[in-house]
Amino acid sequence: MRIIIKKIAEFPSNFQSYFRDWISTFRAKVTVICLIGLSLVPLLTQNPYFLGIFTTFMIFTIFAASWDFLAGFVGQVSFGQAVFLGVSGYVTAYLIRYLSFPWWLSLVIGSIIAVIFGLIIGIPALRLKGPYLALGTLAMSLIMYQVFLMGSLATMWENAFGTNLFGAEGVSQITPISSDTVVEYFATFLIMSVSLLILTHITKSNVGTIFKAIRDDETGTSASGINTTKYKILAFMISGLFAGVAGGLFAMRFRGVNPGVFQPLYSFYAIIIAAMGGLATISGSAIGALIFVFLGEILRDTQDLSLLIFSIILILFIRFAEHGLLKPTLERIQELWDIVLGR
């Protein structure tokens, strides 16, 4: 905690020099061009359908980036990312629907609850090493699915509070961020940019170095006097925060949540997006999510078939293209760029 506060205090003075260095790199130019390009999309089309697809794409980017942070940088492969998505989605949806909170406050509370879940999952999960963590977290998400599906809990909650929370229909009829899709688009765009910025910054900071050390050699890291448990829990909480942000946005984008968000399906989405973009590249999630959402939209009518195709894509990516799409693409573009400039 102290480290974070210190980081925030030093931030403004560091920022200027950091930014100057950053903007001179090739990746930074590409990033800026992509961000400008995305912010120009509403000028091209005001069609709610197309803007909706872009909004979904940005939500999935945050979600996959949160998984990529945990798996790619800290080496903790979680198949329970859907838990964060679902919990935050439920809290956000419930607050908006029944307590008429404003959307941003609900989103913040939802994400905080997701962080607490990150803590709750993080502590027992730390006893699980490597692949066992994956199955433990998968079990966690399946159990959440069962709990939220329970009929007896649904009636119990309804009798006690007079509202729907548990049960198959979930929480529905939520008001979105704004009835204007352009406003919704820009709100999501802003949240996505800030989330990716923070995540990237964390991975480049001192804490990020410790995370990478834990990923590469946990025994060695703890032998150098670093409390790996503390940092792993911190990583789970950070990942939970951003998955929670994605969950709240997800609930508002689709006007409701049901127990289905806890299924392994959504964890699978995060993994396939991150794998397509490339592991351990936070911004790779964006390129993965773009392909994923648009391909999903093309194959919309045959949902089972699209999942079939996605699982084949994932197998092929993990098996043959470990680095995903982002890094090789960027290298190609940079070569091209150098040729164009005549270097």
């Binding site: 798996a71 080496g75 492969v77 198949f79 027992p124 006893r127 699980l128 090493k129 490597g130 692949p131 066992y132 994956a134 199955l135 433990g136 998968l138 079990a139 966690m140 399946l142 159990i143 069962q146 709990v147 329970m150 009929g151 007896s152 025994t219 392994p264 699978f268 993994i271 396939i272 794998a275 592991l279 089972d304 078939l305 999942l307 079939l308 699982s311 084949i312 994932l314 197998i315 993990i318 098996r319 470990e322």
Partner: protein
């Protein structure tokens, strides 16, 4: 009361026999190769659907064809999964976990697309029932228990006595030393995954007639096997058999004594959490130094 007690005993034993087969395979693959096979539920699903498909297309005769085809195909698929997917990625745990997870997903979608996403049921392998102290016991239940007992014994004998079994144990102890002794480690690991897939196939054939056929059952099979293996000790075969019976009696207790079937889905996670907090190496697990 006495009725529910007998139901508890019978169904606990049945489920225990089935899960013993599943957990044994799961534990074997981890113990020998350090491979955490997320596709274990998918192996179950493959046999389950091949069996079902043969039955609906060929009728009563299809049951026998289904058993043979299902077991052969699942064993071959197990070998292929190891050779094509796991072996090239063996150095990265993350890769193995993700690729087998993706494979499990693939199989689920394949059965959804090629058959249908609905629930089905299958007929019992042998009809009829006998009376035991005034309680009707289906013959199929007896078949399940006997078959499971025989197979567990055979596998244990195989691991302990046969040449391949000895090689499997050698690889489990020290893969590098085993390969220096002229054991082809990759081939042994492929055999291990094939044995594990075969066991999952047997479990599917025995359990499907009294359970349902649905695309999503693979996940609960996987989670239950995992919980049992955590309970019994990672990589320990007697532990997984014992764990299987403890888990299924707990399950049957919740279902038939407490009458709260909704809670039974929560048992695996409760078991996982408690074991991890109280005794992370499981009942029979070896103590690890890290």
């Amino acid at each position: 009361m006495i009725d529910s007690l007998i139901n508890f005993l019978i169904l606990g034993t049945i489920q225990g026999s089935i899960y013993a087969l599943l957990a044994m395979g799961f534990s074997l693959v981890y113990g020998v190769g350090g491979i955490l096979n997320q596709a274990h539920g998918a192996f179950y699903l493959i046999t389950c659907y091949l069996f079902y498909w043969c039955y609906i297309n060929l009728g009563g005769f299809g049951l026998i064809v289904g058993i043979v085809v299902g077991l052969i195909v699942v064993t071959v698929v197990g070998g292929l999964v190891y050779i094509l997917l796991v072996k090239p990625l063996k150095d990265s745990h993350v890769g193995v976990v993700i690729v087998t997870f993706a494979f499990a997903f693939l199989i689920e979608q394949v059965v959804k697309v090629s058959v249908d996403p609905l629930y089905h049921s299958m007929p019992l392998l042998i009809e009829g029932s006998i009376n035991v102290f005034g309680v009707k016991v289906l013959n199929h239940y007896i078949l399940v228990v006997v078959a499971s007992l025989v197979i567990v014994t055979l596998i244990t004998l195989f691991i302990n006595k046969a040449k391949i079994g000895k090689s499997i144990r050698a690889v489990a102890q020290d893969a590098e030393a085993a390969s220096l002794m002229g054991i082809n480690v990759d081939r042994i690991l492929a055999y291990t995954v094939m044995i594990s897939a075969f066991l999952a196939g047997i479990a599917a054939i025995l359990y499907v007639p009294i359970d349902i056929v649905a695309p999503h059952i693979g996940w609960s099979i996987l989670i239950n096997s995992f919980a049992i293996v955590v309970l019994g000790g990672l990589g320990s075969l007697p532990g997984s058999v014992l764990g299987a019976f403890i888990m299924s009696y707990a399950n049957a207790f919740v279902n038939f004594i407490l009458f709260m079937p909704e809670i039974s889905a929560l048992i695996p996670i409760v078991v996982i959490l408690f074991m991890l907090i109280l005794r992370p190496r499981g009942l029979f697990g070896k103590k690890e130094i890290d």
